[in-house]
Symmetry: C2
Subunit: 93 residues, 2 copies
DNA sequence: CTGTATCCTCGTGGATACTG
DNA sequence: CAGTATCCACGAGGATACAG
């Protein structure tokens, strides 16, 4: 939970489960996140080896994010949580 | 994550997966939790229908906590997270 | 395009002491 | 036994502006 507990962490993982994304693409996928929060959560996920950050020395700059094997192993968890969340809303309603 | 995100929530669920517990028993199972935090997390889990609180009108007072069906449905998640946590520690080491 | 820098609010969580 | 009451520190998260 220390690794996954950030407000946007699992949301980011979920997006990256659909493939490699650039910074701006993640912003589009998470419309309400601020650049500051996106950077922070990405850096933490990187240092926890959930994802990889690849910088291409180009102009304009290009940076790509994709899941490591460790991160990809979270696929089941994300699905499980999605299902449980739906069940939860049903029961609580 | 809003429901499960408290610092002690999943730990409490994990204990209750082994059966009904009283307040003091939960304290013993979670040696570093303060009574204040235990109360708060229990009340939140109760209002989210993850567990049930049963008060017996006796002296001395007796209060028992046990999982609802919704809460019991978290068993898989807890196991999954345990496994992933171990894997995580191995890979990160 | 991919971020930093600054400033600020708020809530979580902890310490400690006390109570019906 | 099963909590409350108070007080406090810290940091996560957000708003806004700016930069290489």
């Amino acid at each position: 939970m220390e690794v996954l507990g950030g407000k946007w962490k699992l949301a980011i993982v979920k997006v990256l489960l659909t493939g490699t994304h650039r910074f701006a693409a993640l912003q589009r996928a998470l419309p309400t996140i601020t650049p500051r929060m996106l950077t922070r959560q990405l850096r933490e996920l990187e240092s926890d080896r959930i994802l990889r950050r690849t910088v291409y020395a180009e102009v304009p700059p290009r940076v790509e994010y994709d899941l490591t094997e460790l991160g990809a192993g979270l696929a089941e968890l994300v699905e499980w949580l999605d299902r449980w969340g739906r069940e939860y809303r049903k029961v609580r309603a």
